[in-house]
């Protein structure tokens, strides 16, 4: 490739959201005919960086240069004009329009021209599209292809693909890779965001690893090994705050009883999941976003259906129980999105806390009883409240979460499933929640902790099961738990896990 043109140069981009520094000076360049893979855990800043590149967000610091021009007033329509196009992870087509209508809408060219151009493109790519099909009838892969055509029709020079393979089947992935190869040869620069390390080696020319708002590793792909990429994703030792460590215990599995047994559970988004939870232990469920962890939790809890397999609680088969029955048999679930599913935001603190336990009451609610329960848990979990009658949304995130924990404790469960319990909670409240979890463990509750936060899950779990693309092949015991192992397993490269090449 004799002379390659530089397409985009991002220089020391910084971005802060509510005092939370998301990007801490990221520089990135892309030339013609390059495929740059950007790899990073959840919250590493990948999507923020891409939103800055496409003009959706404005960078606080740093400069953007496209085709050698430094841009100041950057916005999405300039990005489109300059040929930068993002294919979103979830396609945003109009379902009730035909493909052709989807391609032409919002375009300032003549319909006829667009149609001809689209037909030519599709032919070049060797795809088989009937332009009169409705978008609603397309598979996700096809929708993605339409999005890509939309980008190419706008003469994109830089195509950003945001986790394009996350909902593609193997054959569809192959055809996408062929397309990337073709585009690369045609001189398009491609930024490829992914979690899958195998794909990185398969298609990219360069790899960039983002962690915590910084680039930790950057270079040509043939200089790297998987092992090096994993190391780049891990937090530096110096950054860890070792001030606090939580008491862990290895449960003597011969003696203790199994609280929960999940056997060969299959459902939508996961397959052949087996694990056990013993009395008085914190079992972590690690994995990347979209690996299927929440789906597993919802299946156990009875929100979604189980295709096959068994869930056994205390020797009782609860596989096909509905939510109400699951709660009664002793499982509690703290959902991922507290605002959506966890709290009744404009109700009072005491109503929130007793929302579940009052089911056991008779027709009328005993105010005295409500107050007693609330007082008890407010002091037990040291929840900072003004008055019991304040709306729960007036509390801080950490205290809201504590109220949710209090609510489920009032039901006296045996197993508590916590899905991302510290998301959106500040550091101080975070260690409060960790303390609560550790206390609960000591009191004999079993906890299933789902978390994407590597540090969190590593610090407070006694055992960790790692979910990788809907399967669970790795169980890390107490002595095996460390950040490297969890990270490897989450990316599917742990030595014990099934190799996927």
């Amino acid at each position: 490739m004799g002379e390659t043109k530089r397409l985009v140069k991002l220089d020391h981009i910084q971005k802060t959201f509510n005092q939370n520094k998301v990007l801490k000076g990221v520089s990135l360049e892309i030339n013609q005919s390059e495929v740059i893979s950007i790899i990073g855990g959840n919250g590493a800043g990948k999507s923020t960086l891409m939103k800055i590149l496409t003009g959706v967000y404005k960078a606080d610091e740093g400069s953007i240069e496209i085709n050698g021009d430094k841009l100041t007033n950057y916005n999405p329509s300039i990005a489109h004009d300059k040929g930068i196009y993002l294919v979103p992870q979830e396609p945003l087509l109009f379902p009730n329009m035909t493909i052709e209508q989807n391609l032409t809408i919002g375009f300032h060219k003549k319909k006829q021209e667009v149609r001809e151009a689209a037909k030519k493109l599709i032919e070049q790519l060797g795809w088989n599209f009937d332009l009169s099909r409705y978008a609603i009838s397309l598979s996700i892969a096809e929708q993605q292809q339409v999005e890509i055509i939309k980008g190419l029709l706008r003469d994109s020079k830089v195509l950003i693909l945001d986790e394009p393979t996350s909902s593609l089947t193997f054959a569809e992935t192959e055809s996408l890779f062929k397309l990337i190869e073709q585009l690369k040869n045609a001189g398009v620069g491609i930024i490829y965001i992914t979690h899958r390390l195998d794909e990185v080696f398969q298609i990219s020319t360069h790899a960039v690893i983002l962690r915590d708002g910084k680039v930790t590793l950057k270079g040509k792909i043939n200089e790297f090994t998987k092992e090096m990429l994993i190391q780049g994703l891990l937090p530096m030792d110096s950054e860890k705050d070792g001030s606090h460590s939580y008491e862990k215990c290895s449960v003597d599995r011969m003696k203790e009883e199994k609280i929960l047994r999940v056997q060969d559970l299959c459902g939508d988004g996961f397959k052949n999941i087996s694990f056990d939870v013993f009395k008085g232990e914190v079992v972590g469920v690690a994995g990347l976003l979209g690996a299927g962890r929440t789906e597993i939790a919802e299946a156990i809890y009875g929100i979604t259906q189980v295709k096959s397999g068994k869930v056994i609680l205390n020797g009782k088969d609860i596989t096909h129980f509905r939510v109400k029955e699951t709660i009664e048999s002793g499982i509690a679930y703290i959902p991922e999105d507290r605002f959506l599913n966890g709290i009744f935001s404009i109700s009072s603190i005491s109503s929130n806390m007793t929302a579940q336990v009052i089911k056991k009451q008779k027709y009328f609610i005993d105010k005295q009883f409500e107050k007693k329960i609330t007082d008890e848990y407010v002091s037990r979990l040291s929840i900072k409240i003004g008055s019991q009658d304040d709306e729960i949304r007036s509390l801080s995130g950490g205290n809201q979460q504590k109220v949710v924990i209090a609510r489920i404790l009032s039901m006296n469960p045996q197993l508590i499933i916590m899905d991302e319990p510290t998301r959106g909670i500040d550091a101080a409240a975070r260690s409060d929640i960790y303390n609560i979890i550790t206390q609960l463990k000591e009191q004999g509750y079993s906890i299933l902790l789902i978390s994407s936060d590597l540090e969190e899950i590593e610090r407070i779990s006694d055992r960790i099961y790692v979910i990788y693309r809907g399967t669970c092949n790795v169980c890390l015991d107490l002595e095996e738990i460390n950040a490297t192992n969890v990270m490897r397993a989450a990316f599917g490269t742990y030595k014990g896990s099934e190799n996927y090449v």
């Binding site: 329009m97 319909k111 996700i140 593609l168 988004g269």
Partner: protein, 333 residues
């Protein structure tokens, strides 16, 4: 899936089949129903509904709803009727009606887009307000003694076909081409189909929603004029409950209440069906008060069927998405 597509594709055809079946079945019971005269009559009676349904289709396409049309119809008919009765010119009367409809539509649209009031509540309020204004303006009296020239408009005919009918049918066809084939026309359906996507490709969503309400208001005003011309007087309860019939007509004609799907032609056929059911009941010797119950029932049946179809499709897509993520061992080999 393929069944769903064919359903989506042939929503209008489905409506036409329904219309033919209606005429056949009622015709078997009472052959008088399928005479040329009666069919022509049915179309003539439905002109009002066609105009209203065409207007409301704009609003429904954007995913909103407009139930103020009955109020707009009554008010604009009464105001321009009184103007005509007092010797005003027909041209000005038409203009007055259109301004009234346009302004009320504008208020509806601004309330929905700027104040973010749900369109159901906004237009429900507007319906009641328009009714009361009408009563105040007319002192609670009927508007009668409309000039003969005005009443004759609805009776005149070109080549043996009702003039108004011809105009309305041509207008509906033109609007159809605007909505389906023009760039801006397609924005209405795009907004109801995927609002986020519409914003992303630079469609001024709020402005087009306001347009939709204004168009619906103007259509309601025009329907008011047709009403005045056909009936010859305007009672204080003119067009009461008509919004129900019109929404039912649009939905029956394949317009989705969740937005994004539908055509004015479909809605017009739906309008013919709704007014034919009315006369069919007469031919079947069913008491006329059953009409409302039947339109309500039809509305619920169609909406429920629509929701079920959409929900099934969404569920299936979601399942596909989740399962595509699961690692498959055969693939890797």
């Amino acid at each position: 899936m393929s069944r769903l597509i064919s359903l989506a594709k042939h929503r209008e055809i489905r409506t036409v089949i329904f219309l033919i079946l209606l005429f056949l079945i009622v015709g078997i019971v009472n052959p008088d129903f399928v005479t040329v005269a009666n069919i022509e009559n049915a179309v003539k009676n439905s002109l009002l509904y066609i105009v209203l349904a065409a207007g409301i289709t704009f609003v429904l396409l954007t995913g909103e709803i407009d139930i103020s049309v009955g109020g707009i119809l009554g008010l604009s008919a009464a105001v321009s009727g009184m103007f005509l009765r007092d010797g005003g010119s027909i041209f000005l009367a038409i203009l007055i009606a259109i301004v009234i409809g346009g302004v009320i539509g504008l208020i509806n649209g601004l309330g929905v887009t700027k104040l973010r009031i749900s369109s159901f509540i906004m237009t429900l309020g507007m319906l009641e307000i328009a009714r009361v204004v009408q009563v105040i303006y007319t002192n609670g009296k009927w508007v009668e003694n409309l000039p003969k020239t005005f009443k004759e408009i609805s009776q005149s005919s070109i080549l043996g076909i009702n003039t108004l009918g011809v105009i309305v049918i041509i207008a509906v066809i033109l609007i159809h081409f605007f909505l389906v084939n023009s760039r801006k026309g397609r924005y209405f359906a795009a907004i109801g189909d995927n609002q986020d996507g519409a914003v992303l490709i630079g469609i001024p969503v709020k402005r087009y929603k306001v347009f939709a309400f204004v168009i619906s208001g103007i259509c309601a005003a025009v329907a008011g004029l047709i009403f005045a011309s056909q009936i010859g007087f305007i009672s204080t309860t003119a067009g009461i409950g008509i919004e129900m019939t019109v929404i039912a007509a649009a939905v029956l004609g394949g317009v989705s209440l969740s937005g994004g799907i539908g055509s004015v032609i479909g809605a017009s056929v739906g309008a013919i069906i709704m007014s034919s059911i009315n006369s069919a009941l007469v031919f079947l010797k069913v008491p006329a008060f059953w009409n409302s119950a039947i339109s309500g029932l039809l509305l619920i049946l169609i909406v429920v069927a629509d929701v079920l179809i959409v929900r099934r499709a969404n569920k299936k897509a979601n399942k596909e998405r989740l399962n595509a993520r699961v690692l498959n061992y055969q693939e890797g080999a």
